[in-house]
Amino acid sequence: MKIKFSLFKITSSALVILVLSSCVPTAGTSLRSRDSANLVGTTKVSVGEGKILSDNPIMLSGNSSLSDSFDLNRLASTAAITNGSFLRANSSCYGLTYCFEVRADKNSVSALQTSDGKWGFLADTPEFLQVNAFYHLNKMTNLYYEDLTKSFALAYPFFTFPPAAAPTPVYDTALPYGMMPSLNVFKGYDSILTFYADCNEADAAYFKPSDWSICLGYIADFPSAKWGHDSTAVYHETGHYFQKLQLNYRNYASVGEKVDLGSGYYDEAGSIGEGLSDYYSYLVNGRTHFAEWGAGRFSHASRPLTEDDAIHAPGISSDADQRLAYPQYVGYDPNIPTIPIIDIHATGMIISHYLVAQTEDLMSRCSMTKRAASDMILHLVGETLAELGDLTSKGTELNTTGNPKINLRTGKALEWVRKVNPINFRSFSQTFAKNLLINLSNPLLNRCNGSIYPQDQIESILDQYGLLLFRTYNQNRNLSIPGDATFANTAVSALNRKKSVLISKDLLILDPTINASSAFVIDDKTIIKNSLVNLMKEGLVTSISNQTPSDLGFNNNNSKVSPGEIVGLALNLYNNSNSTMAGVQVLANDWDHADATGKPCQFSTSMSNDQWPLTSEGGVPCTTIASTDADFAPICFIQSNETTATKWVSQTEFKTKMALDSSFCLDPSNTKDCFIRALKGADQANFSKLNPKSTWGKTHADPTSGKAPELNIGNIVLFEVSKHIPPGTIVDCRMRLRFTNCEDCYHDTGTRAGYDYLDNDYNGPRPYKIIHLQIPITD
């Protein structure tokens, strides 16, 4: 019995020890926590301190050829990390105990924990990457919140807490005062940002707003080279996070739609986002080059932020006429300058270079420190994104009219900001310039060293970058009335437009070369299936008709449009001008081009270039110059052979003539696009640029081999065709085209005397070049 009892005591003691030991954070090999002293050896750090790389290894070593096997411990330094037990940081976030945390990877169950209060780890450990990422993330986040506080002080200098009433801003700010409910505490930050310092993905880095996470991976060919060792990569990726917040300053509630900057495929909004993220790296470290280690050393993909950088091709300098100008340098990669590429990062350099040039000019003309000047730029970018991304459509705080000022109206705003009047180089430049004007050129504020920043200088620098693409600052947007002092827009001086070129929309045409194809059909089952899988995973295409089989069984790869298929249509566009066109957009979404009964509009020559169809062909005159914002018709009509004539009719009418039951329509609840429709989410195509007198294919052909570029999903429009459409049917789809550096795609030279079009005008024909595709349905 005694033996048994002793056994019981021993067993119990062992179990108690086991229980107690399980409550202590694991030390040793666990990813979650290690005792730093065991790893650093003689290199001691104090409590709350850790080892970091203060910049990336290339900059710290001064060796641009540094090997991936170099001992990075030799470059590490000691820095204050946190006195907390976890890699979590507290900042001016709203209602949270902490705003962000750093974890090893996506399998990590918690932020890194210290068992001795110290954060000193060897440079090749996962813990070092986490501490390094935390240090730089914390640095950037503190700067961002400090600057956001300054932004509110610039907009609402007399704001007190609690506010007695809605405060009046000293200029027409887009920052909503309700976003700051108490001093230096901001709404819109009610989720924790999780930063995965080594997410174990090759050549990958991304910001994922669906769970507010950032992932930094490694270089595929050099697995020991981690993005997390490059502080500029931390700044760049976190920059996307802050842009997301800025873009949604006016949509700060947790519930409801938010705006993304870019579609995920090539577009100018995405390019602007990349340029801004490069600038945010400069914002933190003041250096005019991005990712020398992560991208530069191993992938030849680092990026400069100033024309004086030695990496640039000859002919680029900070001279006024040698800037990295739009659209000439769209798709320019300094690492391979002779090969035009289609890449948002490359095109985004135009924005980063412009912002650095503007920063330096503020330092020079307003006697600002670099810190103050770049903080001011961040403030103006925040104002710009907040206004452009406003889904409430109010736009700015001094809009007390009760009428929508931007993005058409609530309920349609997301479609406008994403597709119909999207963020591009023109809208960003114009709104940024407007914010410069009302902040720094405002004589009531005198914020440029006690004086004003000259309007001519705003325009001059923009023009050096080819970005003076607008005739007014468009302060009042949809409220503006030419000649009305209350709602007038400030004009740009035409004399300042020396380099920025505006081209007539009529010069965007289909390839006129004899025997050249003007459009192509892609109906290969595998290509279309893979495209759909990708588009659906990205949330771009979200609904396909139930009558279309998931194996795309009707797709027959005959390069023709057949019943039951999903096909890609690509236009063979041609720039018939003597200047480069950029930001070409093909729209296949619904728009206001039919009357109330669905008959196709025949527009007057002052409204449209097509004058289609004649009244004898079923057209009805639509004379209203201003389109409504509530009428939308699908782009495709169908030819109907009637007893006396051949007419173009709506799909609803064709269905009635066929006596087809609505249940056989692509969407039984909507007969308007019963037989053929552009798939929502794949109903626009974007082309980065077209050289003068050139097609897109020739513009991007390899200059050495002459090899034509490949298309991607972003260059085609996807159409879904009903299996019930009779073979032999002719369909006419009326598509709308425009480009960013276009004279008459944005300026209404008719009734609005050169002011920008109103948002509802973009629902009609006038701002666009109209192109028709007449598609025979072939069995």
Binding site: S110, G256, D260, A295, A519, L540, N712
Partner: protein, 220 residues
């Protein structure tokens, strides 16, 4: 006998604590989470849906810890019919009002509001089927309800659900976004919160133009 019972009990408790303190799955949902539903394509003709399991949440790397520390607790509640009221929002029929909410006091349910649709109990199944139907058979889609809303647009109301959609492939890749979904038809109205990729090498599918146009299309 009493000691034996004590011994058994303490052993059980100790082993349980030891297991859960060490096992990574403990950080994921302790049980299947009714807020998440998984849809899986078994074949071209068979799609199944079920409450997301612990294993699936873990495989898709959806940690419970992150959800628990979020500020807005009610969005992570398992019971959405009883979501807690947040003073920042207006409510009607226990749903958050979004859209043109300033134009009328729609919180007052005596204020007339014409509704475009009627909530259906199977909207999530319809949505899941739509999303998974075109995916390859190794893919799962997981849908999580976040908020039930009424969206006011042009003076009319639409019953809708805000959801988080996560695609999970067998190779471990995930992609996700948020969506507003028609609470009757399960059709997606809008999507947002898409991932921004900074990959060094583009992974976008590419294809060459056909050599010639045999489509018969006339463009002008």
């Amino acid at each position: 006998m009493k000691k034996l019972w004590l011994f058994t009990l303490s052993t059980f408790i100790a082993l349980t604590i030891a297991f859960y303190s060490k096992h990574p799955l403990s950080m994921y949902s302790g049980q299947g989470n009714p807020a998440w539903k998984t849809f899986e394509k078994k074949s071209n003709n068979l799609i199944s849906g079920h409450t997301a399991t612990v294993t699936e949440l873990a495989a898709a790397r959806i940690p419970l810890a992150k959800r628990e520390i979020a500020h807005d607790k009610n969005q992570y509640s398992d019971s959405f019919s009883a979501q807690k009221r947040n003073m920042n929002y207006q409510y009607r029929e226990d749903r958050i009002l979004i859209g043109d909410v300033q134009k009328n006091n729609y919180q007052d349910e005596s204020v007339e509001l014409e509704m475009i649709n009627r909530p259906s109990s199977n909207w999530k199944d319809l949505l899941g089927n739509d999303l998974i139907r075109f995916q390859y058979e190794d893919t799962k889609v997981m849908i999580k309800e976040e908020y039930s809303v009424i969206k006011i647009q042009s003076g009319r109301g639409l019953y809708a659900e805000q959801v988080l959609v996560t695609f999970f492939s067998k190779n471990g890749n995930t992609s996700s976004y948020r969506a507003l979904v028609d609470a009757e038809s399960g059709q997606i109205i809008e999507t947002w919160d898409k991932t921004i990729h900074d990959n060094v090498r583009s992974s976008t599918p590419k294809f060459t133009l056909p050599a010639e146009n045999n489509s018969g299309i006339i463009a002008r």
